[in-house]
Symmetry: C2
Subunit: 189 residues, 2 copies
């Protein structure tokens, strides 16, 4: 996908920064950090439902499968004791506000940015998360062929829309997503 | 589910009327009637997405599976040559307007009415549609254990919400749904 890679030229560098964060690996701290993610995943659920409202027929099935994955992740977080009424960490709150701002963009931007959030998160997850532990389920979920197929579909859909978009606007939002991912993972430093 | 059956006391009678309609069975006419259903199923898609926006976590997975079924039905209708730009029959238009009116009701009403629409449509379908034909796929889809499980989940969810609702309001809308189903099937007389 030359276009997307071109537009997002500073992706590799900012991503490398995230992947290189010297996260201190501690299973209990990590499980706490993960449970704290509940309000963000809930905001992601709303973002995805808004995508479905405007999605053309060809996009709907992949978006639904991605949403099933999000709902399963919420189930998992709740089963692990995440508190829906708990106080929301300021960094998560800021990331949620960014999502809500992005939800006001036209559909093609929202779709392309949704693809990037998924790809980015999974790359960071693979770099930082040790095998084993109660989150093994989540890891298996994301590496399963079904979810890889969803990601591939999202990539194709994003590529199909990207050429009509303003590269500067996309780059700005991508930069802000990368910044929020960096700050989120930095909570584990 | 005593409550729902009680509230909707006139259901059996009105349903019997629909099941007893002397539909003239002609495969080509039926296929045409089915393709004409595209704009209604599209409206149902929107209705279901609106449900997802407000659904509590426990309702989301079943609603998503129901929505996957709707998207597959749209795919099937398009593959059969249904025309998204085609003129919409006045009876379908009226049914769509009813759906749009129902979409303004509070979530519990919308969920209960969605369950009834599914149940009612499937009973009428089983009564009127001959085996074989290109729509065999759709029939198999709806009789598959996965979809039966979704219907069962919807029933349990509807029952869980129904006792807090105004029986008169529910009954009014149910009456209007039954009337629209009757008029829709009557296009085949």
């Amino acid at each position: 996908m030359p276009f997307i890679e071109e537009v997002l030229g500073h992706w590799p560098e900012a991503l490398e920064e995230i992947l290189a964060l010297p996260v201190r690996w501690n299973p209990e701290r990590f499980a706490f950090w993960l449970r704290q993610d509940l309000p963000f995943v809930e905001a992601l659920y709303r973002y995805q439902v808004e995508l479905l409202r405007e999605a053309p027929q060809a996009h709907r099935a992949p978006l639904l499968h991605a949403l099933v994955a999000t709902v399963e992740e919420l189930d998992w977080l709740l089963a692990q004791g995440a508190d829906p009424q708990g106080e929301v960490h300021p960094v998560r709150r800021e990331y949620i506000a960014l999502l809500e701002e992005m939800a006001l963009l036209p559909y093609p931007y929202r779709l392309v940015l949704f693809y990037f959030m998924n790809r980015l998160f999974l790359e960071a997850w693979s770099a930082h998360v040790a095998e084993g532990g109660p989150w093994q389920e989540l890891s298996e979920h994301w590496s399963a062929p079904e979810f890889q197929a969803v990601l591939f579909d999202l990539e194709v859909m994003a590529q199909g829309l990207a050429s009509g978009l303003d590269p500067g606007l996309l780059r700005d939002y991508l930069g802000r997503i990368l910044e929020m991912e960096k700050r989120t993972w930095s909570l584990l430093l």
